[in-house]
Symmetry: C2
Subunit: 380 residues, 2 copies
């Protein structure tokens, strides 16, 4: 028997408490029970997003929330800046094109980031830009973009800064109000430790103002309409009830651990994973601030990374992920987000050593585990 | 202790087998396990929709699937016929307006239906119409519209017939191919006995052809893009994994019972509910073919139906629903769909007798139960 372990960069494992809460008989969404649930969730989401703004939940996955951000704040022909250096950055570009937006494309190679200075210049040259679309954590490359600096660069302009925090919410510190981020979107299946199927949009006043002039057509994702219901602790359409029930449990777990400690845990897991990989002589893919959610590792020379992913699964029953898009075959990614703890990383590194040895790479057994333990035993 | 019973017209109870399947550790959606699941689900969905067409699952609730039907087949300024006689019919109208469509509005009062002859005439007068948007079962009124006749009226025209089968799929017979329905949408939380959060769209060839000329903007809901993934047993964006796992179990339950018997069961539950209500001297709201999913009952003279809904909940821990929109306060609705069986109806009727007596209505105790039993003991 091999115990199943999910260490992909999302979806992440769901704690038993949450799974069992969701396995309870389903409740109706127009009842006092659901209202009580929503009141608690509404308040806890604001804390998690570190904002006084409303966080609007939607029955969709993260990409649906990205789409909601676009169709609620923009109009066809609007100019937007897309900051991209990975597959999810590319998704902003595809979305912008699908909705007839004029794109100022600020791209960097996968694994790198876009300097905030480039954004500042682009906005100076294009003061008519209506939005800047970026990721916080780019899941495909394991890079954390400096959205704090992007916010500073955007603040004095008419444009709003829209941050995809799908793989950073509840993982990396992202104080929406303090940093002045106008619109944060996220999903349920990463830091929130839930199954996929819920998206979130949080808009500050500047972003809500943009919804008043936006003419892109919308109905299911209309945030202004949904907000009227949220304000009454109600929901416009049938919500993803079971995941909302799980959300309450997950938010309680985060509250109990403390948000600052949640961030510290992810940082420690990420540093240990990187140290472990480097101890094995492997190269990290991130050429900028690495994400605390996921570590992308370059496959050893001549080794197709899909072989490593397959060996993890077949020999050890551990699900990790390979490279996406142009990075397919070139890197593998270890997720350490959400319901992830120190010994998950120890397992993943021990497995990595065995996988590498199995495909004929020289391995000093225990070396990556030792490097991780050094991080875990640091006095903080 | 009062045992909790959910008898609203959706979401419906979820069988324990399905709840427990969904409570298993979450799997990743780009793995052989998910592919195997999807292969099974894909085939079973075609049987359920009674079609050889692909059924495309989407991470959204039923309204999202309605929107997907509209944005994938139509263009701004297109003329569409909206057939409506209830709150969900109104939703087609709102959707059509949100997307800049020109509406030919065929409405009937709540509780009634629109004769297929009116549709035939409208299409004759407006051969340029691109789509007819209807419900099969109108959840807000408990009426089943004659979509078979609508399909016959639509067939010789350019328009496609789009049927919202959210509260009829797996409840009332709806042979998509045999009746020539072009596009069927549905959701997970009714006949499929699942939590809400999955939508479905099934398009025949005529409907897929419309997607080639449609210019309404779309991304998250782009069915042509999603179809490319479905054909490879893959998914374009992160799916609602846990509900998909539940879907496999639910489809197995439906297969084991047999689709014809599933329809018979719903018909029997509906007839028993209606007979029970009538035995108490109550008036049924449906002035046309009643839906096998839900029975809408007119509140006794002078009684606010919200009082009945509240008494069901407070005195008996049974969740039913009141009237929606203009029918608020005037009717109450008993759902008997999905994971619903004979003794659920017996309970609901026994509770109804007690609720009515509590609010001072004259009640012959046992009379509605007896009427239901007469249906249940019929030789079929």
């Amino acid at each position: 028997m091999k115990k199943y372990q999910l260490m992909a960069p999302g979806p992440t494992p769901v704690p038993s408490e949450v799974l069992l809460a969701m396995a309870q008989p389903i409740i109706h969404h127009r009842t006092p029970q659901y209202e009580a649930l929503f009141i608690e969730v509404r308040a806890a989401l604001k804390k998690l997003f570190q904002t006084s703004a409303e966080v609007v939940p939607l029955a969709c996955s993260g990409t649906g929330a990205m789409e909601a951000a676009v169709v609620n704040t923009l109009s066809a022909g609007d100019r937007v800046v897309v900051v991209r250096a990975g597959k999810f950055g590319d998704r902003w570009l595809e979305l912008a094109k699908a909705y007839g937006l004029e794109v100022i494309d600020l791209s960097a190679p996968f694994g790198q980031t876009v300097d905030a200075g480039r954004l500042a210049e682009a906005l100076k040259s294009h003061p008519e830009a209506k939005a800047v679309l970026v990721q916080h954590s780019e899941t495909s490359t394991g890079v954390l973009h400096d959205v704090r600096a992007y916010a500073a660069a955007t603040r004095q302009h008419d444009a709003i800064l829209v941050v995809d925090a799908v793989s950073s919410l509840g993982i990396a510190d992202l104080p929406m109000d303090a940093w002045g981020i106008d619109l944060v979107i996220s999903g349920s299946q990463k830091g929130l430790m839930l199954p996929p199927g819920l998206g979130f949009c949080a808009l500050n006043e500047k972003a809500w103002r943009k919804t008043k002039t936006s003419t892109l057509p919308k109905f299911y994702f209309s945030l202004a309409d949904e907000l009227k219901y949220v304000a009454k602790n109600e929901v416009r359409f049938t919500p993803a009830v079971s995941i909302m029930v799980g959300l309450r449990e997950a938010l309680r777990l985060i509250e109990a651990e403390g948000l600052a400690d949640v961030f510290k845990r992810h940082d420690r897991l990420a540093r240990a994973t990187r140290a472990g990989a480097e101890a094995l002589g492997l190269e990290l893919f991130a050429r900028a601030t690495p994400s605390p959610a996921v570590t992308a590792v370059v496959s050893p020379k001549g080794v197709d990374s899909e072989k490593i992913v397959a060996a993890y699964s077949q020999s050890h029953n551990i699900t990790i992920a390979g490279g996406q898009g142009e990075m397919k075959g070139k890197l593998f990614r270890l997720g350490h987000m959400g319901y992830a703890a120190e010994f998950d990383v120890i397992n993943a590194l021990a497995a990595l050593e065995q996988v590498l040895a199995d495909i004929g790479q020289p391995v000093d057994f225990g070396s990556s585990v030792r490097a991780a333990q050094k991080i875990f035993t640091e006095k903080s």
